[in-house]
Symmetry: C2
Subunit: 354 residues, 2 copies
């Protein structure tokens, strides 16, 4: 047990598992590094985090996580540059969003230093796990869940904040086909859609399975009232290019405020691309697909980076998007990745050294 | 280890904790019996359940329950009659609903015999824990959650079904004051509101806390579109009596199909009470409160049984309900409790011996 300046105690693993990992063939989020960070909320306060070997957690069956879905998470990545320096991308935004989610789910907010110091120390300890292959990265999963006990439907009195690290390959493989959903919905007005709350994801699984059976990978969610507006995908915000204008829906209490999305907007502007943040109707997208003005659609998120959509389905019809020589998606993806991997100037001050 | 006919293995506790329990002062769902039932889903099938001492569960931090909210539950009660015979109330309905929730949350459905046999054997083993005090009961909590691992937002490949038992006192203490909610919502059209999914409850905690700060115990949810229709409360369906008609909202994909609610309707009819199942507008309830035709409002659910509402708040105004000599609520509550405790004829075949 060493103790660092920040009082985070570190218990190192006796034997690393890194030799067992095939870094050339990583799936997404299925291999975990040697260590994890654990921080408990008890007696009204977050206790000092501890770093320890990746290990199982013991919970009573009456812990509220099992019953009332009180859980939130974040998704981030760590990147290594040519000089082996480690970088994060806008990590303070993840911390801020974690606390926005926490508030909505009646979970106590986490102090910034516990998040940032814990994160950096954990990554440093497991830095050999950061994949070097292009398209792979160290996926970071901070999460909080209710450990407090009882069958009364009310907020727990105890929580655990954990960070796990997972060296990961690409989120999607192959061409991305999406289905515009008209029956099921992801979130309600006044609901929890803007929070990265566990239950928002479980609710998407069944409709997504139905879409997968029809040959799509993802559902594009629309509003729950008339299914008139395009909102977002499972774990991505959506961009649509009509002629030379790049459009994305405004965030709302139904839509996650994606960090990739809000980074793409200023980069696009810097690229001289006209952007619009406004409601997008399904009707206009279908119309644009028919008349040829729909040039691109892509998803944007930490896990999927920028994922061009090859085809969208709507009311039993598939609409293929053109294959462009030089797409907005590829230009923007290069710009954002070059910032993340420290291969380009950090115009907006987004890079954060570990 | 004994093995029963149904092949459910039973490992008994070495020492009961029952002596530590104050059965005269039970809170709701905070004391647990000596045993629990555990059943694992692995390799595409539910394995035979096991009964074992109530104990902690060990899970990897990457178990999907922590990340994607894949969890569902049920709430039931066991009752003891004057002859110490044990009864359940419509348990097959709980099993059916568990599987309806399972399907929507992409959780594998559970065979009826695992649910029913497991439940009965567990209750028999812990039958001394069934409280005898009027208003107390053995609360039963069957639940399923995702134990399968990984950070890919997709259904887990492994699950646990558990039943825990909690001798419990009343859910509410004192007069129930509710607030009709106009900003936050519980569920979306096409969402998961009809499922007893964990995330539906966590999403209610923050708005409920705000209501509690204003002096209410519960929120009455309205539709997420215009907040025009009264839907249900945190863990209760809602009934409104205007003059001599008892009205409750129709179930939908936003509202839980409560077993208490659907038992009250035929009992009310048998009592000669006119019932209506139709949309209830907030406007008509407020209007009825003002003109004196609103006689009663009550919540109905397994935990809360029938809980008369003393006051509802709407747009900063509190409306008190009259105190009636002989209310529908008390008549219906007596009828339903008498069936549950085997003190009255079981007209509808709802009682189920253990
Ligand atoms: C529902 C949802 N939308 C959008 C995103 C994209 O957000 P970000 O770019 O911050 O990863 C995510 C990502 O994790 C998500 O879960
Ligand atoms: C959201 C919600 N509505 C209504 C009810 C009432 O259902 P039941 O009568 O089956 O207990 C519950 C109960 O558990 C509930 O969680």
């Amino acid at each position: 047990m060493e103790t660092t300046m920040q009082n985070i105690s570190i218990e190192k693993t006796e034997k690393t598992k890194i030799d067992q990992v095939d870094f050339d063939n990583l799936a997404f989020g299925s291999v975990f590094t040697d260590h994890m960070l654990v921080c408990d909320y008890r007696n009204g306060a977050w206790e000092v985090p501890q770093i320890m070997p990746y290990q199982a957690i013991s919970l009573e069956p009456s812990a509220k996580i099992f019953h009332y879905g009180q859980s939130i998470f974040e998704g981030m990545k760590a990147y290594k540059d040519a000089d082996e320096k480690i970088w994060l991308f806008r990590p303070l935004e993840n911390h801020k969003r974690l606390n926005i989610s926490a508030k909505r789910m009646a979970i106590p907010e986490l102090p910034e230093e516990f998040f940032m110091d814990g994160l950096k120390q954990l990554i440093k300890l497991d830095e050999n796990w950061i994949p070097k292959k292009e398209g792979s990265a160290l996926y970071i999963r901070p999460f909080i869940f209710a450990t407090g006990k009882g069958f009364h439907a009310s907020p727990a009195d105890e929580y655990k904040f954990i960070i796990c690290l997972a060296p990961s390959g690409p989120y999607f493989s192959g061409k991305v086909k999406v289905l515009i959903e008209e029956k099921y919905s992801r979130s309600a007005n006044g609901g929890v859609g803007f929070a990265k709350a566990g239950g928002n994801y479980a609710g998407q699984f069944f409709p997504t399975q139905l879409a997968v059976k029809k040959g799509y990978q993802q559902v594009i969610w629309t509003d729950d009232h008339n299914h008139e507006f395009i909102e977002e995908a499972g774990a991505m915000n959506i961009f649509v290019r009509i002629n030379d204008t790049l459009i994305t829906a405004p965030i709302s209490d139904r839509i996650l405020d994606g960090i990739t999305r809000k980074s793409i907007l200023p980069i696009a502007e810097d690229e001289g691309i006209t952007t619009e943040v406004r409601k997008i109707t399904v009707g206009e997208v279908v119309e644009a697909a028919k008349n040829g003005s729909l040039k691109e659609m892509f998803g944007a998120g930490t896990a999927a980076v920028i994922s061009p959509i090859a085809t969208f389905g709507y009311r039993e019809v598939d609409y293929d998007l053109p294959e462009l020589e030089s797409s907005f998606a590829s230009r923007l993806k290069k710009r954002i990745i070059d910032i993340q991997y420290n291969r380009a100037e950090d115009l907006f001050g987004w890079r954060h050294g570990v």
